[in-house]
């Protein structure tokens, strides 16, 4: 079994720089395997910075997240938060 969710990217610069790093870190903080992709395209590893960079996902675009593992719902919740937090708030949250 796996869980999946489609999320619209909020940060203005897209899934790039700090939001991308935060996204990959969040994937790696969880035990589930997480993949990311567009629509029906073959999803790629969400735990790799180069893979996430290769998506070139822009603000306003929808990405599909697929998580498989013991904490898949928690992983999707945390990743959705990263993708829907404006970049300045993400920076504030990190202090």
């Amino acid at each position: 079994m796996s869980s999946e969710r489609t999320v619209t990217i909020v940060p203005e610069a897209g899934l790039h720089a700090r939001p991308a790093a935060k996204f990959v870190e969040t994937v790696n903080e969880h035990d589930s395997d997480v993949r990311i992709g567009y629509g029906d395209d073959e999803p790629i590893s969400a735990g790799s910075m180069i893979a996430v960079t290769s998506l070139g996902a822009e603000s306003g675009e929808d990405v599909r997240l697929i998580a498989d593992g013991p904490d898949e719902e928690a992983a999707l919740d945390a990743l959705e938060r990263v993708l829907t937090t404006p970049e300045d708030e993400l920076a504030d949250a990190e202090g």
Binding site: G14, H16, A17, R18, A20, A21, V24, E25, N28, S48, M49, I50, A51, T53, S54, L55, G56, E58
Partner: protein, 158 residues
């Protein structure tokens, strides 16, 4: 994405004088300056200080060491008039502080004017996609001339 990095653009983005195969400085900042100077010497950069500042500000935000032995320092800055890509290699590797702890051995620099946000993201993502393939990375390690590097890139983004 409004524009894409395709094989026809490699010659314009990364002419052979943007490519240095000698071992790059092992220090991250020195390596970034080394790549920048390739673009300065090629006449692509109108304001070296502004370009360096933009590149270092981007690194400050989060490292451009994307793992798999790849570093892609990049910035949008009006210190350049047209999108430009430079490339070098390091046998020992440069510590980019990437999440997978692998030192960067293949290092690209991307500078794009402020107005080119879409182009910037498109070059970065296409290059990253190409570099995820082990055969592309191996071919870049093995290339003997800047022209060979161009040929590898053209095939990888085709």
């Amino acid at each position: 994405m409004t524009e894409t990095l395709n094989e026809d653009r490699i010659d314009t983005l990364a002419p052979t004088d943007h490519i240095a195969l000698d071992s790059a400085p092992a220090d991250k900042r020195a390596c970034i300056e080394y790549l920048l100077d390739l673009l300065v010497d090629a006449g692509r950069v109108e304001d070296r200080d502004a370009a360096l500042e933009a590149l270092l500000a981007r690194e400050e935000e989060t490292t451009t060491g994307v793992g798999m032995g790849i570093g892609i320092p990049h910035a949008q800055t009006d210190a350049v008039a047209e999108p430009s890509v430079a490339f070098t290699r390091s046998e020992t590797g440069v510590d980019f502080g990437s999440m997978d702890d692998e030192p960067a051995r293949l290092i690209f620099m991307i500078l794009v004017p402020e107005s080119g946000a879409d182009d910037h993201l498109s070059i970065l993502s296409t290059l990253s996609r190409a570099l995820m393939h082990e055969e592309t990375r191996e071919a870049l390690y093995d290339a003997d001339t800047p022209a060979e590097v161009q040929a590898v890139l053209k095939e990888a983004v085709a």
